[in-house]
Amino acid sequence: MSLSLSPEEQAIAAKQDGPGMAMRIVAESARLLGAPRLIPIASSHIDGALYHGDSGTLFAEKLVEGGAKVAVRSTLNVGALDLMGCSRIRLEEPQRGMARRMMEAYRKLGCEQSWTCAPYQAGHRPALGSDVAWGESNAVVFCNSVLGARTNRYGDFLDIACAITGRAPDYGLHRPDNRRARLVFDVSGLSPSFLASEIAWPVLGSLYGREVGNAIGVVAGLAAHPGEDALKAFGAAAASSGAVGLFHIAGVTPEAPDIETILAGPEPEAVIRVTPGMAAKARAGLSTAAATKTIDAVAIGSPHLSNAEFESLERLIAGRRLTVPIYACTGRHALAPLERDGRRKRLEASGVVIVADTCVVVTPIMPELGNGVLMTNSGKFAHYAPGNTGYAVLYASLADCVESAVLGKPVFTDIAA
């Protein structure tokens, strides 16, 4: 079926201004995907404001010059600079100036200065069943899976184009039939103590992403709701190792009260029975560093830390002085509660480097070391840090990350899968 645009959409697309360019990008994408029409959207989350080179800045400025403005609520994902001034970004001129110009252009387009990859914990939570256009792989998977709003995995530039037009191509996960599960990912063979541990979620997410690719699956065999931060970690890891845009967890996520309701047919097309061996292998696969006696840094907060995660961090550090820094990445929404009662000062006095508006894998923050070793509890950092920072990674729980930062050497607590 070929794309059919309304007369109004055609008229906008024919103009040589910012809204015209945005409409042509949305329509061209719709054509490529075989969407029959465009549908209205309720909100957008925009990943395009992160500096990867001058081309993205020039694009955003062309939209501004063309008089474009967002038509729906639009939050911004991380940028390349810490505008809150919490941490020092080593980005040099002229890149620094271009990154700032890019952030400024998105502000002029009418986007909210949220600068976070966890907008869903910063007050942007679209309603169950609403159509939205979100970018950033973890935000997309959380929005679809945990909130039950409907978005595809919108790439950089299509997100802002959808926000300006207020429309998105009608295809993929906007259609209820395409949201049903075809695979079952059964974790009932894993020990309850592993499933109750923090490390279960990034590890299982990483395994899930690799096993399912871009298919829709439902996780079965969970006795209790693991909490929102666990779902955040699972989705982020799954969206890093695979092309996951939506997962269900039976009895936990809103579209899957049980397996039968969410399955596309009477029987799943495949059942992946996760064994302790598979989980152990996935856990080992999150580390790239060889056996090492020391670590150079710890990085946490991908996706950005919530207030609950900061509370865990404070509890685990318990006022001790760190030997190597913990880079704690978060959004400005989480800073206000930290400023109260001197909490941020105490964390920084221990040796925590708070990074706001951005994170350590998207812009140069950590010192450039030839063969640095980074410890992290984030499946997403574990995935991207080697390529983006040059650091080898060791994956561990938050508790082990903190103990290792205190001692300056890796400490692991064994939690059998």
Binding site: I25, L50, H52, G135, D156, F157, G213, V361, Y384, P386
Partner: protein, 139 residues
């Protein structure tokens, strides 16, 4: 020998050494936007340069910034000479769609069955009508 391929995104005809990726890749974090080098240490083709190559992609994974990396490669003159995909990739190919809107010259992206990927090696040409042709044997 040549194979007809459907044009996914129009662009400039091109030729280059074939680079057939054997695993899906995340362009963001997986490909250096300045040089076109595959930076993902876990990827089987880690260290290869995609600039000027005819790139056969078995799929993309990961970040939604793949489009930004591809557009930056185009802007830097480090884009592949052509892209061959098994199915349209809405995120990656946006990089070409937006680069065209910016008035920059882009390589063509065409669709070809994944089974045919491994028959390509050596120099490959993507003609203006999207046809793929081997012009020298694999080295």
């Amino acid at each position: 020998m040549s194979a007809a391929a459907e044009i996914l995104v129009p662009g400039k005809a091109g030729e280059g050494e074939a680079l057939v990726l054997t695993a899906p890749i995340s362009f963001w974090g997986g490909v250096d936007p300045k040089t076109g080098r595959i930076a993902d240490v876990r990827h089987p083709q880690h260290g290869e340069i995609i600039a000027g190559r005819v790139l056969f992609l078995p799929g993309t994974i990961g970040s939604s910034s793949a489009s930004a990396v591809l557009m930056e490669l185009v802007h830097n003159g480090r884009a592949p000479a052509g892209l061959v995909l098994h199915e349209p990739d809405a995120i990656l190919l946006l990089g070409l769609i937006v680069a065209r809107e910016m008035g920059w010259e882009t390589p063509m992206a065409v669709r070809l069955g994944r089974d045919a990927f491994e028959t390509y090696g050596g120099r490959v040409r993507i003609a203006e009508d999207g046809a793929l042709r081997r012009i020298s044997l694999r080295s």
